[in-house]
Symmetry: C2
Subunit: 248 residues, 2 copies
């Protein structure tokens, strides 16, 4: 049973655009049909932009705390203010980065705030509720196609201990985000070492192989053949703070 990852090119997405509608049109133009079980991976960038999560930096008034962190990090104090607005907790800060826990519970650099693929003088926040965004896109795609689908809203996060970014799921609908294999047996009948698999993150990283933030402009990928449809939310992937030895 093979897995396929099909790239889907979209026009530049603007505030108010209907992402599901754009995906359906692009599928038609690129002569692709969705199949039962397909997982549609969408970069958070276009979801956030469509949802109007871009901010004009001139409208942001940095607080004293934002100015202090801007000095530590060398970042624009207005961007720092946006990061603080989106953060529940600041975990670490250094040269050009602030690692926070976002309002959603994700631990990432700069609260996922992005100035690439955004016009000068503006910044883009993460979607407000990416699990909900995923659900809405899934429903619209399922309704139009009659297929049973999954949707993942993906971002790229850096990591502790390892260099480079990988794909992560910040929103999910229609798939098992965290696969629980406890109780399953290995080839010799012994219990498995790895008992929970972050399936949604593996799918986001797989999609990362065809998607790109650069001038290639491929914000969507269809992941076919995974058999992961089910119930799950990206929030299932958040490790509770009290069980995280690197946060105590």
């Amino acid at each position: 049973m093979k897995v396929e990852i099909l790239p889907l090119r979209l026009p530049y997405v603007r505030e108010g655009d209907d992402v599901a509608g754009l995906i359906l049109r692009a599928l038609q133009e690129q002569e692709l049909d969705l199949e039962d079980g397909d997982v549609v991976v969408v970069t958070e960038k276009i979801v956030a932009r469509a949802e109007g999560r871009e901010v004009e930096l001139d409208n942001v008034e940095p607080s004293a705390e934002a100015r202090r962190l801007a000095e530590v990090t060398g970042k624009d104090p207005r961007v720092v203010q946006l990061i603080l607005n989106e953060a529940r907790e600041v975990l670490a800060a250094g040269e050009n980065f602030i690692i926070v826990e976002t309002r959603h519970g994700f631990v990432c650099a700069n609260a996922g705030i992005d100035q690439s693929n955004v016009e000068e003088g503006r910044a883009k926040l993460l979607p407000l509720d990416p699990d909900r965004s995923a659900r809405e896109i899934r429903r619209a795609l399922e309704e139009a196609t009659g297929r049973r689908l999954g949707v993942v809203i993906a971002d790229s996060f850096g990591r502790s201990f390892r260099l480079g970014s990988v794909g992560v799921a910040i929103g999910c609908s229609g798939i098992v985000a965290l696969l629980d294999r406890r109780g399953e047996r290995d080839l010799l009948g012994r219990e498995l070492k790895v008992t929970r698999v972050a399936v949604a993150d593996c799918i986001a990283s797989a999609a990362n192989l065809v998607m790109g933030e650069g001038s290639e402009g491929i914000p969507v990928a269809i992941v076919r053949g995974t058999k992961v449809l089910g119930e799950g939310r990206a929030r299932d992937l958040i490790r509770p703070k009290e069980s995280d030895v690197f946060r105590r």
Copy 2:
């Protein structure tokens, strides 16, 4: 340009087995041909087993330190001794886990030591030099097929901040492990936010979608269509301790 991930079934691998030879035979039996640019992902489990990295626990004499950590964690003191033997540094320990930096520089639970898919009374260490293992398998596969290939030795690691394991590359040959995109531009001509992509880890996570540690017994996957051939080692993915805010 789509990406495909093809599972490859292998017989149970034993010490002294020739992994590349087994892969070639399995390709033939399953009527698959390798193509230029294919990345062959191999689980570290079969590489380590073939390389004789299994240890008889009865031959391990736990030190006082191992006995102390065994009490803290509830682990077998002999397994703890093996973990300490494989570790440069212990970062954290708790109920049934010890997070260490391995001799290779990887930060992971229990030094990657595994008792699943290993006979009772034995434990399996990570390959001694997985980059070298990848190189040897690649050379044998390239020689037999005449194709230009990449090889990734993959494991599953847990993570800070997020639940569930994902695929990681602990050995690489013939591919760019860490893709540097600094200087590239986005759709609007601005610099990219994400500048280094852990391509080899994305490939390992993608392969994870078809591979399994369970009774399915699929220890190899062919990842086709990625255009990532080049020079790189899994060691390129290790974040230097002094640049890691969660280790200072």
